[in-house]
């Protein structure tokens, strides 16, 4: 008996050893970022590399706050990321529900168009988009970041794949027999079932918006009214003289709201997403 138990037990320990190794690998750069934020630039670029915390964190924070309007730009980032997330969750889940569960003339063409949009490099449209926005007076305002981002082809693709597996036809048929119209099927039948998929999309959208920097860099013309990533990239601007300790501290502090959002939504992602289905 004992020998039959030992096999699985040993395999379990080996499994956890590998998983912990992976965990250390994926977490190490974070550890190092924290270490870097406590050192001066000179210390960061010394040899051998510093692996233990230094004593310059407070100094780095002070330099950071002296150089950029940290909390002002953080508020801008929050405004953009929250607005886009709400819009994307609503619009994408509604459209994905249609693509996943209904048949109608033009469905295939419209979906193929959607996938084509997904494959267009965002940069392709950047210049004309800038011209259009300048014409309607959105340049320099957060609207220029929020409205175009609400049309998210990735989100529809993801929600469609998710809904195909998670929403069973019998469930919809039952709702139809009860006299539920389209909107009630969407709101009362589909949405509750795909909540984990929505949580994943929501967190992912929030993250992508929070971390985006190419388009905000172009569209926000007033250097005093930018998002956090743009503010941080202003610090990284002058090569050679960059204060890496300060930049790293900024990048770390910019991570805090993301970690909060992630921690709140993680239960949905890591718990319930696994229970839902992803099928094509």
């Amino acid at each position: 008996m004992a020998s039959t138990l030992r096999g699985p037990r040993r395999r379990g320990i080996a499994l956890h050893a590998v998983l912990v190794a992976g965990l250390l690998l994926s977490a190490f750069p974070f550890y190092w970022a924290v270490i870097m934020s406590t050192h001066t630039s000179t210390e960061i670029f010394s040899y051998p590399p510093k692996l233990l915390p230094g004593s310059h964190f407070a100094e780095n924070v002070r330099h950071l706050f002296d150089n950029i309007d940290f909390f002002g730009s953080m508020l801008n980032s929050l405004l953009v990321a929250v607005s886009v997330t709400v819009l994307v969750l609503f619009l994408d889940s509604l459209a994905a529900f249609v693509f996943a569960k209904f048949d109608f003339p033009g469905r295939k063409v419209l979906f193929a168009l959607l996938m084509a949009i997904f494959m267009v490099p965002a940069q392709l449209a950047a210049i004309p988009q800038f011209v259009i926005m300048a014409k309607i007076g959105w340049i320099g305002s957060m609207t220029a970041l929020i409205v175009p981002a609400a049309a998210n082809a990735f989100g529809i693709f993801w929600m469609r794949q998710y809904m195909k597996g998670a929403i069973h036809d019998e469930l919809l048929d039952a709702a139809k027999l009860d006299g539920a119209g389209f909107l009630r099927q969407y709101w009362h039948v589909a949405l509750p079932v795909v909540r984990p998929g929505l949580a994943f999309l929501g967190i992912f959208t929030f993250m992508a918006q929070w971390n985006d920097y190419a388009w905000p860099l172009i569209a926000l013309t007033d250097p005093d009214n930018v998002t956090l990533q743009v503010a941080l990239s202003q610090l990284n601007g002058n090569h050679g003289t960059t204060d890496y300790g300060m930049v790293m501290t900024g990048a770390l502090l910019a991570l805090v709201p993301l970690l909060i959002v992630f921690a709140v939504g993680a239960r949905q992602i890591i718990g319930d997403l696994a229970k839902g289905a992803v099928r094509g």
Binding site: L19, S26, P48, F118, P121, I127, P128, A151, A153, G280
Partner: protein
């Protein structure tokens, strides 16, 4: 009641009575079109029109300020003969392959292991997803110092085991490996979580049946798990292809400090200049908006071609 169209993939089994059939499509399906229209309207205004304009632009010479000048197909003729563009395609594909295949393999293995681990599952999932939460600027700074020639952690490790140092960010292969490592690190956990979501949809009875038939873990994976995972694999592969072939921020931020001519040059010998970096260089460094637009259309074609190949490869086997 019963006026709704049939559920997906079953057009033959329309629930409507025959009397309801002759009604026009628009009246019958208006609510479906209404539900998808916000996306398509936004897309029209901020996607299709700008993209159409860039197509128009690609047939012109324009420096962004002066008048546009008709150039016909000249930009595309130049593009086809442009060895820098071909080099950027090669760079992008090599970096994509170096990042994607290890990433998908590692993500799959991680997902299978997580699926069979009982304890600390949530801790692992949280930690594995974490790299994807970080901003690319911060990641690139960290990796820049990891791969730094004189002070880098990677070279400190190589030295510790008695190997020679590598000038990671100064050699064509070193650059590609560094950028690919960064991408693999950032996306493996993300894809593992998605694979895990797929794994949990495999009914446990199937595993039970495979076990009774005497299948080992490897056999079970290839005969039971993988075929059922194909839609998820397809999702992961398409997203990796589209995002990987459009990589821009990773090489840009990682290599800008070693670049002496332009922030979009992609390091020594342009070894890390991806297609999108080349687009930025042509458009914003050279103020060549017409040619930039032609480059962007070239990128689009490469991405579509690659996505179709991947789609076919995954779908052909077993036809899920």
């Amino acid at each position: 009641m019963a006026t709704l169209p049939a559920v997906q993939d079953a057009p033959a089994a329309v629930a409507d009575t025959p009397a309801a059939r002759p009604r026009s499509g628009l009246r019958r399906y208006w609510h479906l079109y209404a539900a998808i229209s916000p996306f398509y309207l936004l897309f029209l205004a901020f996607g299709l029109i700008p993209v159409g304009f860039s197509l128009y632009l690609s047939f012109h010479r324009w420096d962004g300020l002066g008048p546009m000048e008709w150039a016909g197909a000249a930009q595309y003729r130049y593009l086809l003969a442009d060895s820098d563009f071909w080099q950027s395609i090669g760079n992008t594909i090599v970096i994509w392959a170096l990042a994607t295949f290890p990433m998908i393999f590692l993500a799959m293995v991680t997902a299978v292991m997580l699926n069979s681990a009982v304890r600390f599952k949530n801790v692992y999932r949280f930690a594995y997803f974490l790299p994807n939460v970080t901003s690319i600027v911060a990641v690139a700074i960290v990796f820049g110092s990891v791969f730094s020639t004189n002070f880098g952690l990677m070279n400190a490790l190589l030295q510790a085991v008695g190997l020679d140092q590598v000038a990671w960010l100064n050699t064509p292969w070193g650059i590609k490996v560094a950028v690919a490592t960064l991408m693999t690190w950032q996306w493996t956990g993300y894809n593992a979580i998605i694979f895990l979501a797929g794994l949990q949809t495999v009914p446990s009875e199937l595993y039970e049946a495979a076990r009774i038939d005497g299948a080992g873990p490897v056999q079970t994976f290839f005969r039971v798990t993988l075929p059922l995972m194909r839609p998820v694999l397809l999702f992961v592969l398409i997203v990796s292809t589209v995002t990987g072939l459009q990589s821009f921020a990773e090489p840009q931020v990682l290599l800008q400090t070693t670049a002496n001519e332009s922030t979009f040059s992609g390091g020594p010998d342009h070894a890390g200049r991806t297609m999108v970096l080349y687009f930025f260089q042509q458009t914003f460094d050279n103020n060549d908006f017409g040619y930039g637009a032609a480059v962007a259309w070239g990128i689009f074609l490469v991405v579509v071609l690659f996505s179709i190949i991947n789609w076919r490869l995954v779908r052909r086997r077993g036809e899920a």
